[in-house]
Amino acid sequence: MSLVRATRSELTKQFTTSIWWVLAIVLFLYVGTSAAGIAGAFAALASGSLPADATNGPVIPAETLPPFVYSIATAVGYVFPLLIGSLVVTGEFRHKTLTPTFLATPRRGVALSGKVVAGVVMGLLYAAIAIIAAVGAGAALLAVFGIDTRLGDSATWALMGRMVIALVLWVLIGIGVGTLIRNQVAAVVGLLAFTQFVEPILRTIGAVAEGIAPITKYLPGAASDALVGASIYSSLGAAGAGGSTLEWWVGGLLLLGYAAVFLLLGWLFSWRRDVS
């Protein structure tokens, strides 16, 4: 099966350079410390260890605190699978390795499918790392403040399942964007700028300005949060503009749609082009 071989080749590419473990470590530390910090702060408030008037922010009740903390894995961590996805493709353009890749796998569709399947595997791996970091650090801090970690709840496990789906879809979006935007630096900078500045600003404005909220809920980050069903925005910001988030499955389909559209555009306008 040439798709199986192409996938194995792609996975070998991923695991024979250092970027995958560098990003994995950064992801683990970033998500872990974020989850620990937020869990500690809100658990102190919720449990009364810290008086509620010590802050002018909202207090999240102890029952909804665990999913909120665990969803840090996607709310904060989604940019990592996104980057890995874009690197899967732009690395080939940057190092001109598309030539040997297409010589070994001449059918372009098989080559791209191999990247998508390998991307799913990478997404599962990063999802595992992000969830272990968020749930591990978060649950530990919640337990310190005597708040129920709700790790026995099926709802918590369903949340984790939806986070896995979200993180896998983010890898595929990254692959699509990377196929379309061949320049590695442009792709990485563009993705960081959009996910870390443009979309958060739009969503923050959307949370207070009624007019654009109906639009911002369709942004990829918002779709991801809707799929996961708990996040900083839905718990804090969007709570004010109630009802402006999508159903979780709609969010999931929307995120899948983003991945499909970028992959299709990349296929049409970039992947089939001459390699010289």
């Binding site: 070998t12 590419k13 024979t16 190092h95 890749t101 010589l103 070994a104």
Partner: protein, 394 residues
């Protein structure tokens, strides 16, 4: 043993906007020999090879490997090994891992990876990152990639770039061996001198068009050759030639006679009692023939004529051509020059060539030194083409 396949270009054209990088290329590459694919930079060599390998889509026409397009090959790496550029590596990946990536894609075992690294002399650096490799090492790694599937067809684009002299010598022997095993070996280069010792078959393209298809010997034609004759007593020699009605041109290094062969000239001199200081058969500079073909000054029958008979040019005078092309030991200069004056005589010529082509390598030949080697050795006496350059010096 893997089987070689015929490579076939059929009216392949590739346009980039209004520019035709490849313009109606029709050519055939046979297994069992090393075929040189020559042309100046920008002639369309790399584009043609990329079309053959399915990396670039031809505007029209078709390029096949054993009758199939590259994309239709069931096992591409086991059928064709291709190295196109020396920089297709992720610098952070080790040499062995680089090969493993593609071995996996083609279903080739890891053991074969170690094997090909040994074949190209990189076994000792298999675990080192490619980023620290020299250009020559990268070329070798590129070659290792081509050998992964033990393919019957090898397509190499400028493989000698960056190799040191030892590496080039090794590459030549290696390619010849692969061809002898029955494989198809196509090697591109922009320098004839670089490949003339390795290849036995040639495709030359210029501006995307084929200007020559045939063997090395067919590149030159019988009337490209002349005989150089000289004597200390030039007046006597001139008189003897005049008496026989033989036309000649007098150059600083002696007389150039176009029609007569060396044996006849020697006999004339002997019967006139003239001691010769030089008697030599000389062919044209292959590099100049190449340049003439490339710039259109010379049109070869292999592509100009309706009948594709590339070897016809040699039929008229097969003995002359083979003799002329055969002088690996550099005996041409030494044999007819008992006084040892010849090398000194010729040395200034090659350095003073006014057109700035001191590297031109003609086919100096001796009637007394027939040999089966297909190409001259560049270490033999170097001389520029006999006509234009020397005439200007007169």
């Amino acid at each position: 043993m893997p089987e070689g396949h015929v490579l076939e270009f059929t009216a392949v054209t590739k346009r980039f906007g209004p520019v035709a990088a490849v313009d109606g290329l029709t050519a055939r590459v046979e297994p069992g020999v090393v075929t040189g694919f020559l042309g100046p930079n920008g002639a369309g060599k790399t584009t043609s090879l990329r079309i053959l390998l399915g990396l670039v889509r031809a505007t029209s026409g078709r390029a096949t490997i054993g009758g199939k397009t590259y994309a239709d090959l069931p096992h591409p790496l086991q059928t064709v090994g291709a190295a196109l550029e020396a920089s297709s590596f992720h610098p952070g990946r080790t040499a062995a891992n680089h090969l493993r990536v593609y071995a996996r894609a083609a279903g080739i075992s890891d053991a074969r990876v170690d094997e090909v690294l040994g074949l190209v002399g990189l076994a000792g650096v298999a675990g080192r990152k490619v980023g620290g490799f020299s250009l020559g090492m990268r070329q070798r790694l590129g070659l290792a990639y081509t050998l992964l599937g033990d393919p019957g067809v090898l397509v190499l684009d400028e493989p000698a770039n960056g190799l040191d002299p030892e590496g080039i010598k090794w590459l030549r022997g290696f390619l010849r061996q692969l061809a002898q095993e029955g494989r198809t070996v196509l090697v591109s280069s922009h320098m004839l001198a670089e490949v003339q010792q390795t290849v036995s078959s040639l495709l030359i393209i210029s501006n995307g068009r084929l200007v020559y298809e045939g063997d090395m010997a067919g590149l030159t034609q019988p009337d490209d050759y002349a005989t150089i004759v000289d004597a200390p007593d030039r007046a006597a020699l001139a008189a003897a030639l005049d008496a026989q009605g033989i036309p000649y041109e007098q150059l600083r290094t002696g007389f150039t006679v176009r029609e007569a062969d060396p044996a006849r000239l020697g006999a004339i001199a002997a019967s006139a009692g003239i001691a010769l200081s030089n008697l030599q058969r000389r062919g044209p500079a292959l590099e100049e023939v190449f340049l003439d073909l490339v710039n259109g000054t010379r049109v070869h029958t292999s592509v100009a004529g309706a009948a594709p008979a590339p070897t016809d040019a040699t039929v008229g005078g097969p003995s002359e051509v083979t003799e002329a092309a055969a002088d690996p030991a550099g005996t041409a200069a030494a044999a007819p020059a008992p006084d040892g004056a010849t090398p000194a005589d010729h040395a200034p010529d090659s350095t003073a060539a006014p057109d700035g082509t001191p590297a031109a390598e003609p086919a100096p030949a001796s009637a007394s030194a027939p040999d089966s080697a297909p190409a001259p050795d560049p270490t033999s006496t170097r001389e520029p083409a006999p006509t234009d350059a020397e005439e200007e010096q007169r």
